[in-house]
């Protein structure tokens, strides 16, 4: 029993974080049909904002909000710096500029802050543990689960019920047509980057909260996770990204529990084997999303 509860909590907390990462990536992909490779650096920005504001004496929640706000700002900045100038020109150009922007931010962190891990302030509650039904689990896992439920519900509400959400979905299905109806395209794209940055900021705090430190390359793993989750879930579908995130977490956690100790360091090889099998079975991902996938 305790084991089952432990397993479920692990899957849900890891899955919630993965799902949020994937959602932030797929929101941009859905509208522009372009992967933002500088997405991981938004998580890095959130981490360093926490580090830089740690001496300020501000309450933790204010520092956390500041970190999320900076991720939003850098999200919008990514659009202006890497996407907007070359968006209409070619896919390859945007691919390169988003990689370049990613590199630029990482190197700026190396140069102006440090290549060494920096401590991020965390409230005591992050390191406490709690016992549920015989299972001992860190409170931050429960916080992650709660945060992802709230955010996934909020994003679902935003997408279904608000003007901005309907405009974003219209733009995601058929960008040209949405423009022809009078949807303000640039505003929608900037909003998508802001939302992506917001999710990256929150995930950044939760993710970095697991390790307690931030390094310039901290965003690489979340980017990879988000990318794989969206690929197995379906690149064009927001629910697909969420499903992909949880599925990837289920695979990772199951392997963590079942692999013998000396094979555990090869866990990713097992994970990716399963990912390849899933893709052979469903090449377009688990949830297909709109068929009109032409980049416009």
């Amino acid at each position: 029993m305790a084991f089952t509860i432990q397993f479920i909590i692990d899957v849900l907390s890891l899955g919630g974080a993965y799902a949020l990462m994937a959602l932030g990536l797929v929101i941009i992909y859905g509208i522009l049909r372009l992967v933002n490779f500088a997405y991981g650096e938004l998580i890095m920005v959130a981490g360093y904002t926490m580090y830089l504001s740690s001496g300020s004496g501000l309450p933790w929640i204010v520092m956390a909000s500041l970190a999320v706000a900076m991720a939003v700002v850098f999200g919008i900045f990514t659009d202006y710096a890497a996407f907007r100038p070359v968006r209409a020109k070619s896919v390859t150009a945007v691919l390169i500029t988003s990689f370049a922007f990613s590199n630029l931010l990482q190197n700026a962190a190396l140069l102006f802050i440090s290549p060494r891990p920096r401590n991020v302030p965390l409230p005591p509650i992050f390191s406490q543990t709690v016992e549920i039904g015989g299972a001992i689990t860190p409170v931050r896992n429960l916080i992650t689960i709660a945060a992802s439920i709230v955010l996934l519900a909020a994003v679902a509400y935003l997408m279904r019920k608000t003007t901005l959400g309907i405009a974003m979905r219209a733009a995601a299905t058929n960008f040209t047509m949405a423009r022809m109806l009078g949807v303000p395209a640039n505003l929608i794209i900037s909003s998508a980057f802001a939302l992506s940055g917001f999710l990256a900021g929150v995930v950044g705090i939760l993710w970095i909260g697991r390790i307690g430190t931030v390094v310039p390359g901290v965003g690489l793993e979340p980017l990879l996770v988000a990318f794989i989750a969206t690929v197995i879930g379906g690149m064009r579908s927001l629910p697909g990204a969420v499903v992909g995130g949880f599925l990837l977490a289920l695979i990772d956690t199951t392997l963590n529990y079942t692999l013998p100790q000396d094979l555990l360091k090869f866990r990713d090889a097992f994970t990716f084997t399963l990912v390849i099998l899933i893709l052979l079975w469903r090449p377009a991902g688990l949830i297909k999303g709109p068929a009109s996938g032409q980049r416009t």
């Binding site: 309907i166 058929n174 009078g182 709109p290």
Partner: protein
């Protein structure tokens, strides 16, 4: 007069040297239904694309209610009250029928509640209320066309351009559509420009016809006038049959 008129004046469009439209002038007044007809490749859709800003003009100007449209972006033109449907339906497939129509109202600046109300009323009017929650993708062809027209109307246009609205519809559907469309100009105070190959529909629906052939205007006027026009008969049936 010009306050209630969509005026195309002396418009030419070129595609890499090929003249798709050659000094065409046409007008649609509020309350009027104008039919745009002509053989395949005569430039009908190009003219609609020119009005909605999707192709650049080589010569001429286009104004709607006194505002110059030529040179504006498609989005700006849509916001000036010019809406259109497409020859090949372009719905938002992953969104519900209701959301498709709502999106157009929202894009024109309606509030959430007003947009929902307007969309529901339009779906009622087009007999689509029972399909409001289905995805755009899942509809029959005729229903998709109706959704597209409803969506165009949700923007409350002053001028509505319909590119083959009856294509793919059966006779009964076409008949219903005819009655809905015929009532639009009066009811909504808009000018309607229709392209269609169904001459029965066009002749009964339109107050005036404008005939294009190879990018040139070859005739315009009432249905009776156009039908008897030698150039029209020649364009449609070929030389030699004109006097048969």
């Amino acid at each position: 007069m010009s306050e209630t008129r969509l005026a195309v004046a002396d418009v030419s469009v070129e595609f890499t040297g090929l003249r798709a439209l050659d000094h065409v002038s046409l007008s649609v007044d509020t309350g009027e239904v104008v039919g745009l007809i002509g053989p395949n490749g005569s430039g009908k859709t190009t003219l609609v694309n020119a009005i909605t800003g999707q192709v650049k003009l080589a010569t001429g100007t286009i104004t709607a209610a006194g505002v110059t449209l030529s040179g504006l972006s498609p989005r700006a033109i849509a916001l000036q009250g010019v809406s259109r449907s497409f020859q090949i339906v372009r719905l938002f497939n992953a969104m519900t029928v209701l959301e498709n129509v709502e999106a157009a109202a929202l894009a024109k600046g309606a509030g959430r509640a007003a947009a929902r109300e307007r969309a529901e009323a339009l779906l009622d009017e087009f007999g689509l209320a029972s399909k409001a929650d289905e995805l755009g993708d899942s509809l029959s062809y005729g229903d998709k066309r109706r959704v597209e027209i409803a969506r165009a109307l949700a923007a409350e246009p002053k001028f509505l351009l319909l590119d083959e609205p009856a294509a793919g519809m059966n006779d009964a559907e076409t008949e219903t559509l005819l009655h809905t469309l015929a009532a639009l100009p009066e009811k909504r105070g808009l000018g309607l420009l229709i392209i269609d190959h169904d001459m029965g529909l066009i002749m009964r629906l339109c107050h005036r016809l404008h005939v294009l052939a190879s990018g040139r205007t070859i005739a315009q006027g009432t249905a009776a006038h156009v039908r008897a026009h030698p150039a029209v008969i020649e364009a449609y049936l070929g030389k030699g049959t004109a006097h048969a």
